[in-house]
Symmetry: C2
C-alpha cells in the first residue's frame, strides 16, 4: 500500500493540542507545514468566531472540520429543540469557517430505550438538513466506539451510521471514519465499502494495550494495534481523498510542548498512515 | 413481557462472589435457594477437581457452565498448541462437572493482524471439537464487548460468534449471550434471532453510566441502562430456556458479605430479568 511522503493531506484536529488556543494551534501548524486544522467549538468560543475565522484565513489553512455538533436525544421535546438550536449555531460557525464538515457525535440515550434514542437522532438530522444545506455545510455522522453507547453516542457502528446517512439521500450528509472507533469491527471493511461516496472525514490515532482509559486512552499512531494504513487504503478505495485528521485525547500528549506534539505527529503520520 | 416469580432458572456465576471459595459459593447458593452455579477454573484449581465435583454434587446444584476456555491466538505454532492443550484440560474438567457448557473467551490478537487472529480462533475450535464431542461437552463462544478486542477477545459481536458457531454445524458448538457485551449493538435483536437454536448460555448484569472501569465496571441488574428483560425475552424467542447466570466483576460487590450479594442478586433478578 502506498505510503505518504508529504503532509499535503494531514490535518491537526485541535483536541490533539488541547494545551493550545486557536491562535497557537494555527501558528503551530504553519511552523510544522501542516496545511489543515479541525477546530473545536469550545476553543472557538474562547477566541471568538470572527477572530478564529481571521486567524485561520490569514494563515492560509484549510478547515477540515468543526467539532462538534450532535448530542440529539433528550427526554423532553423542549430539550430536543434546544439541542437542534445549538446545532444550528454550530452550522453557522462551520459555514463561517468554510469547514469541510460539521462532525456529529450523536449523543447518548437519556434512559434505557436505546432504539428510541436512535430515532431521535434520525429526526434531529432530518430537521437540521435544510438549514445545513442552505449554508453549504456538510453533516458528518461519526460512529463512536460501542463503549460510548451509554454516555456519548447511540450510533456505534459504521454500518449503522452509513445506513442513517443514506436515508437522507443528500450529498450534505455522510459519515466520518475514526480508526479508534471502528477498527475492532469484523465488518469494518465491508462497511467502508458500503459507505463509498459518503465518507466526509477520516481520523487517525491508535489503540493502546492495555487501554488506560476509554476516553483519554488513545495514542499516537504506531503506539497501538490498529491497522491504520489498511484502513486508510480502504477509505481511499471508497472514494475519500480529503484531509486526514490526527485526533488524540491523551493527557500525556497534552502535557508535551505543542511543537513537539506536531513534530511527533508528522513523523508518525508518514510512518504509519 | 413475562416476569419471573421464582429462582428456578437463576445461576450464580462464581465470579460474582469472588470473595468466596467453591465450597462457600455452593453453600451460599443452597442457603439462598439458587439451583445452579457456574464454576471458574481458578477457583476449581484451588479446591481441586474431585473435591469440587463432590461439593457441587452433594449440594444438588446444576453446573450451568465452566469459565473459561479460549485464549487461542498466539504468535507461534507451539504456543497455539499449548493453548489447545490447556483447553483440552478445561474440557475434561467440564465433563467431570457435567457442566452444561464450557464458555470460550477466544483471546486477543498477538499483533496488529486481527483477521489472522480470528482465523486462529476458528482453527482452534475445529481442533477441539472432536475432543469436546467425545466427552459430551458443549463449547459456547462468548462474544465480548468490542472494547476488549485488543486484550481479551477478537470475537466481539454476536453476529460474528454465531457465524463462527454455525460453521461447525454441530450441536456441540454454540454461543453465549452476555447482556454487558451485546446490548449496544444495533443488530443485537437480529443477531439473537439468527442464533436461534445455537444459544448455550445467557448472562446478566448491567452497564453503569458513567462506566467506572471496562473490566470491573459492570453492576447489579437494575443499576444501569441495559434493557435486560427485553434481551431475555429475545433469547427465549430464539429457543433458549436454560440457566440465567448472574456474572458481575465488581470490587464493590466483592467487598460485600457473600450472602448479602446473593440476596440482592435474587431480588434484582426477580425485578429486572
Amino acid at each position: 500500500m502506498k505510503t505518504f511522503s508529504d503532509l499535503s493531506r494531514l490535518s491537526l484536529n485541535q483536541i490533539t493540542t488541547n494545551q493550545w488556543s486557536v491562535r497557537e494551534a494555527v501558528e503551530g501548524c504553519v511552523r510544522a507545514g501542516i496545511p489543515a486544522i479541525a477546530i473545536w467549538r469550545n476553543k472557538l468560543a474562547e477566541t471568538g468566531l470572527q477572530e478564529t475565522v481571521n486567524i485561520v484565513r490569514n494563515a492560509g489553512l484549510t478547515v477540515s472540520s468543526l467539532c462538534r455538533g450532535g448530542g440529539f436525544p433528550a427526554t423532553s421535546a423542549s430539550e430536543r429543540q434546544a439541542n437542534i438550536d445549538e446545532n444550528r449555531r454550530a452550522i453557522d460557525e462551520a459555514a463561517a469557517l468554510h469547514a469541510a464538515v460539521l462532525v456529529l457525535v450523536c449523543g447518548p440515550t437519556p434512559d434505557r430505550n436505546i432504539d428510541a434514542a436512535r430515532g431521535m437522532v434520525t429526526d434531529a438530522i432530518e430537521q437540521l438538513l435544510p438549514y445545513a444545506t442552505e449554508r453549504g455545510v456538510k453533516l458528518g455522522i461519526e460512529p463512536l466506539h460501542p463503549m460510548f453507547a451509554a454516555d456519548r453516542s447511540v450510533i456505534v457502528t459504521l454500518a449503522e451510521a452509513t445506513r442513517l446517512a443514506k436515508r437522507f439521500a443528500s450529498p450534505q450528509v455522510g459519515v466520518v471514519v475514526d480508526v479508534y472507533h471502528v477498527w475492532w469491527d469484523p465488518e469494518v471493511y465491508a462497511s467502508i465499502e458500503q459507505a463509498t461516496g459518503h465518507i466526509l472525514g477520516f481520523h487517525v490515532n491508535d489503540w493502546a494495550v492495555p487501554l488506560p482509559d476509554t476516553l483519554h486512552g488513545r495514542r499516537m499512531m504506531g503506539d497501538g494495534v490498529i491497522e491504520i494504513r489498511r484502513l486508510r487504503h480502504a477509505v481511499e478505495q471508497a472514494g475519500y481523498h480529503g484531509p486526514i485528521e490526527v485526533e488524540i485525547l491523551n493527557q500525556t500528549i497534552w502535557n508535551m510542548p505543542g511543537d513537539d506534539v506536531l513534530k511527533l505527529m508528522c513523523q508518525r503520520y508518514l510512518e504509519h498512515v
